[in-house]
Subunit: 343 residues, 2 copies
Amino acid sequence: MSQTIRVALVGLGHVGRGFLTLMLDKKDTLASRFGLSIKLTAVADSSGAVLDARGIDPTLLLQHKLTHGGIGTFPYGGKPGLAAPDMVKRAKADLLLEASPVNMESGQPGLHCLRLALSQGWHAVLANKAPLVLAYQELSAAAAAQGKHLAFSATVCGALPVVNIGRRDHVAVRYAKIEGVLNSTSNYILTTMEAGKTYAEALREAQAEGVAEADPALVVDGWDTANKLTIIANSVLDFPCTITDVEVRGIRGIGPEDLRRARSQGEVIKLLAVALPLGAGYRLSVHPARLPLPHPLATVNGWEMGVVWHTDIMGVQFAKVDERGPIPTAAAMLRDVINISRG
Amino acid sequence: MSQTIRVALVGLGHVGRGFLTLMLDKKDTLASRFGLSIKLTAVADSSGAVLDARGIDPTLLLQHKLTHGGIGTFPYGGKPGLAAPDMVKRAKADLLLEASPVNMESGQPGLHCLRLALSQGWHAVLANKAPLVLAYQELSAAAAAQGKHLAFSATVCGALPVVNIGRRDHVAVRYAKIEGVLNSTSNYILTTMEAGKTYAEALREAQAEGVAEADPALVVDGWDTANKLTIIANSVLDFPCTITDVEVRGIRGIGPEDLRRARSQGEVIKLLAVALPLGAGYRLSVHPARLPLPHPLATVNGWEMGVVWHTDIMGVQFAKVDERGPIPTAAAMLRDVINISRG
């Protein structure tokens, strides 16, 4: 049994290019394990778009992107200046891969592309959190109305299947608390400061090594963490909310001396996301917190991210991931594509 | 949208009774979240069986079991002496819940019940590992031939979704290594010995507190760990094997002095399950191993269990669970039932 799924990709930053790399590296694995072939029929970046229903060669496209900075001038189907939503309107595809940059104000162009794709009866797979934290309920309803999948396991902790564990494994569970260290860059900064660097040094190092969130507000002010918590709340807790429902305080005020003082008292400081039951819903917050060393999240160091789920009938569960660079996030998008293709 | 699924249960030990308790405690949750109603139409224990296509009341059945020790004499549909396989033949059900005791020699009566249930076109949900470690490939093929589900997320680490993460989340992944602390009782013994108790004291304490595996061979000789590794190998690694393909060495030789010496050198001793790529397949082994303190599995203490997955494209992932008693394993069976019912 074999199957071809046609995908249109918005965004050719680290994650979008990572997806193309995985299409090449995992081509044989997809064929042998799942009888699946992924055909790229459309791509957009900020320079324009490429449309070719016969399939775009990821190798040539990656070469062109790296050489010319944009794909509008790609010789096989390139359309300079064609905007992403217009690419979505014209493309022949079964699924939208949304990996454009996080735009916290408007969610654009991702949000517009998603609305179009879903209205055209496509599935959608997101790495971009912004459309979800601004309009989760709308997008989820639009997908359901079409009988299509809206998948976003890449948006929370990359390859660590936080959303999937909540939705597919913790079924019938009531949570007493969910807490997580959800942003690896801010965690790296805290770990680096604890090792003796100043805040400024730690931030520079993190930005030099980091990939996903170069914007300090997303990282150190806690907004990336809050984005992920918002997605968990909507998708796992069935708690309709947007980013404005999260109390957010970042790590800008934390210095090496705070970390050293905590350590001398057997504690570490982490930027925590916390969901606590409150009335019929949840209280959602992001804030720095001191944790005793035996706490599972105290073992989440450097570029790691982790989550603790306190459940009523499934014990206390903990998961963490040590992942670097964009490939694990791209691999999570690939996971969603594969799982959609196998129904 | 509402749906009723009819289930037949084999085994009324801790886990089987736990499932009945969850049917009662989570009845409203199942209805409101999933539109699902579970109807118990048949049950067997070692004393006999109960058959009632209109539905058996879990409360009355639990009371009878606790009062009389067996259900053969249950006044509503009890059949003293009716064997489990005969119950399966006569029952009207959509799904078999297999929670009978682990029988490593023959897999019976579970294996027989499963073959019958699958041949009758039922789904099957297992907590009992024995049928899988003896006949995974046969049972898996039988389920596939009928287009039915064979689910067993409860068999590896109870409520921690080890099998599900491997099968549904680590798709398209190549593992460099999987290692785990998969048996909580032996881990409790090691932790207790490290705290100063002798082997005999630790074993007694574990057996007094423990629930799932009272048989010392399963616990301290490593066979329960090996069972779980066999299930992971077949289901996640797609490596056809049985329990005889696992090299097994338990913790009987380990004493408090070994643990203290390791600790003085910054290490702990854990009973590890390891899968390593070897040729076209995997080398599977269970053995005590010294781990440096920063190793994730070194943080798996007492009644905890945990797994580390070393992947090519999804980083290094770690998950652990702190769960007590039979409810989390029963909750994993419930998870499988719900996920089967939602397709």
